[in-house]
Structures are given as C-alpha cells and as structure tokens.
Symmetry: C2
Subunit: 225 residues, 2 copies
DNA sequence: CTGGATCCCTCACGATACTG
DNA sequence: CAGTATCGTGAGGGATCCAG
C-alpha cells in the first residue's frame, strides 16, 4: 500500500527525500514543530490538503519514524500526531528552509492565508538569539490580519506562541499580513510604516526598533544549533 | 507550461517548497553544489530521472532563480547549469538534510547506486572542521566500489573531490559501498572491518582512526555556517 | 463533532522513442 | 549532446459520505 518511490541512489539526501520529500510532508512536519496536533488541526493549518492525502502522509511519516500517532487519554476521545525524536531533528532544517524561501516571497496572492502557526514559526525563525540579553523583559503582542500571536523576550530567550498576552509592552497591528514579511526583511521602513498607518502601535513606541532588530530575517545570522 | 502548484499559504517554508519541493528538484541542486554540470552529467548522476522531467525541473529552477543556464564559450559548443547565489544558499540545508537522512539509511538495495558526487558530498557533510588542525597534512584516497574519490586535509581545511590523488598517505578500499555509511556512523568498527577484509588499507594504517574521527556522521556537531 | 474512507477526475510523473 | 514527442499510469485534488 505504501509504496515508497525510490530515487535509486545510496545517498543521505535521496533517502531523506524519500521520507519527507513527498508533497505536503514537510508542511505537516512544520506544523508539528509547534507541538502535537489532531487531524482536524492539521487540516485547518493546511487548508488545501485533501483529507486522503493527509491520511496517507501521516501513515507514511509514521512508518518512516518521523511522526508518532498517540491516542489521548480519557476523557478526550481523540488522537494526536506528534514528532518523534528523529522527526524533531528536522526542526532547524525546516526553519532554515523557511528563511531561505521567505527571501524570494513576494506579495501574498489573494488565495493565500496566514496561519497563527505560520506567524509563530516566522518569529522563531527570524529571532537573533545572540542579540537578546538576560536583563531585558519585553512582551510584544502582534495582530497580523486575523491572527494574534505574541512574543516574550525574557532571560535571553524567546517564547512565541499563538494567542494573546495579558500586559504587552507593545501591540503591533497590521491589517494586511503582506506587511509582515517586508517588515522583518527591512524592505519596509518601520517608521514610515507607522506614519502611513500600515502598521499601528499601542504601548511603548520605542520598542519597535528593538523588535525589528531582534527579528530580522536578512541580517547575517550565527549558525543555529 | 510552468504551472506552480501553490500551497495557498503565505509562509517561507511553503514558498520554498514551491521552488524546490517538486520531485527530483533538490537532487538536482545537490549535484550542482559540487559545481556546474551539463545536462548529460546530471543525467548520469540521477540515473532514474526521465529526460523530460529533468528538462522541466531545470526550467522551473531557472525561473525560480535557483539555477542559471549558461552557454559555454567556444570551442565547447555546450551548455552548463549552475547554482545562482540564491541557489547556493541551499548548500548547508541540503547537507544537513543528507546528514539527517543518512541516520536512517539501511543497507543499499540492489538497484541503488553510489555516484562519485554522492561520496564527495558525504565527506563534505561528515567532516568535523573543528577537529582539523593547521599543521596536519593528510591525503586519503578512497575506493568505494567503482568510485574513486579523495580527501585532502591541509591548513585546517578539507578538499574533497572525485578522482585520484598522486601520493595518498592512505588508500581505503571497500568493495561494497554499503560499507561506507556504517563506517562513518561508527556502526562498523574500523579495526574489525580491516581484520575481516571488508575494508582494505594501503599506506599508513595508523591514519584510519584519524579518518573516522574527522569524518563521523553521528558525533555531535557544532553548527555549520 | 472528530477522524477519516471512498469516488472520480485530472495532470504530473515515468518510460520509451526520436530529432536538431 | 541536449534535449523534444508521445503515451500510459498513478498520485494529487476535490467533493462527498460514514462510523464512533
């Protein structure tokens, strides 16, 4: 049933692509990086995926040892999919691939969506950990189109997730999520964006440059671990 | 003609996969990492690829700005494909993907081949640059099945390529290329392999442990640049 | 409501043959 | 050498249906 199409090469890259190179597979891994998810959650994050393809991919990834299927204990009569240890080793590769792809990403097409997971991933990709300092404690709330995500910098670490923060130091709002990437790549000047109303701020305005500094996709980046 | 199937997400990973996520695409990039290649060279390195698919992929990769098609000057009435600067940024990602895939790679199947490029890539992936030292100068010649590749360590850098070396310090020969990966992952004990005849040596035997030490896929690795 | 299974259609892939 | 042409197959896309 699960026929793995071989590339006919004894090569790590070829074998890796046999495991996670099928269409949709790496996007499933991407969504699972942020934590275990149910079938339906994955569907929502991958709006165009046919359910049969999702089923097939999950089976293949499970068989490959990348994903584990786990039944939740009572009372949640449900099932979650999560990355195995082996699958988790893809995390940095997927993030780097995202950073590479983001460079050549233009305006969003009309049918494109931005998920909260996508925004969180973008923050985790873009962050420059070496620029954080231990004494600093900042809470950013982002509203990007419909999605709400937050980023907390404390103890030289980033905590980013979907949802809202109780007392953010700065709320950054943009109606169009097409604004987000130019901001992170410095194609869009923050000050200008605020003046033109493309980006709206609530809170300590002075924390915006710091945000751009910490989350910049184009600055040279020390190698991730 | 070139219809790019969209994933419908405004996300760096999704966009990256639209550029290089099609079947065979990353293997083409992989082969081009080692330098410009002609159409026929690519065919030889990708033994199972249909020529029309290779043509299509090259066009798509060119359109995506990953690959550049360049006509060679006279007298070589020919064409080569090479990575653009943007495409070259995939190098580390592809190597890391190869290291990830190699971990779960079993015995080669009967139809699998090993190309010289594959072996060179494996060496460049497996090398621990931080273990090289500036004073050391070693030339290894490897014969893995039919392929011949060499690795020269000098001035704390690795030079690996297909072909032969004039005066190697150690020649490492293995008839079956299935032996190569277990050696690099320390699943196969070098001393045992030599005693059993799976691996044959000519030259300074004492340089074999050093080889395994420098090229070890499983040891924790400082982040690549 | 979650977690799929089934059906049908289309197009990308794969194999082979052929050409400038 | 560097591709095009042709054609069959099967994986992906999309809608619908079903069991717990």
């Amino acid at each position: 049933m699960t026929r793995l199409r071989s590339y006919g090469q004894y090569c790590g890259v070829a074998h890796a692509l046999e495991l996670v190179g099928e269409r949709w597979a790496l996007l499933i891994v991407r969504d699972l990086i942020l934590g275990p998810k149910r079938f339906t959650d994955l569907r929502l994050g991958l709006p165009r995926i046919p359910t049969n393809v999702l089923t097939t991919r999950l089976k293949e990834l499970e068989e490959s040892g990348v994903v584990r299927r786990r039944a939740l204990p009572r009372p949640a009569a449900s099932v979650v999919y999560e990355l195995t240890d082996y699958g988790s080793q893809l995390e940095n590769i997927v993030l780097q691939l995202g950073a590479w792809g983001a460079q050549s990403m233009g305006e969003p097409k009309p049918e494109d969506i931005l998920t909260a997971d996508g925004a969180v991933l973008a923050l985790r990709t873009a962050v420059h950990p070496e620029r954080l300092n231990a004494t600093e404690r900042i809470g950013y709330q982002l509203r990007i189109g419909e999605v709400q995500v937050y980023a907390v910098l404390s103890e030289a670490a980033l905590h980013a997730d979907a949802g809202t923060l109780p007392d953010p130091d700065l709320v950054i709002t943009m109606a169009d999520f097409g604004t987000f990437k130019p901001l992170l790549t410095r194609q869009l000047d923050p000050a200008e964006a605020v003046v033109s109303g493309t980006v709206q701020l609530t809170g300590d305005f002075a924390l915006l440059p710091r945000f751009i500094d910490i989350f910049c996709l184009t600055d040279p980046r020390p190698a991730p671990v």
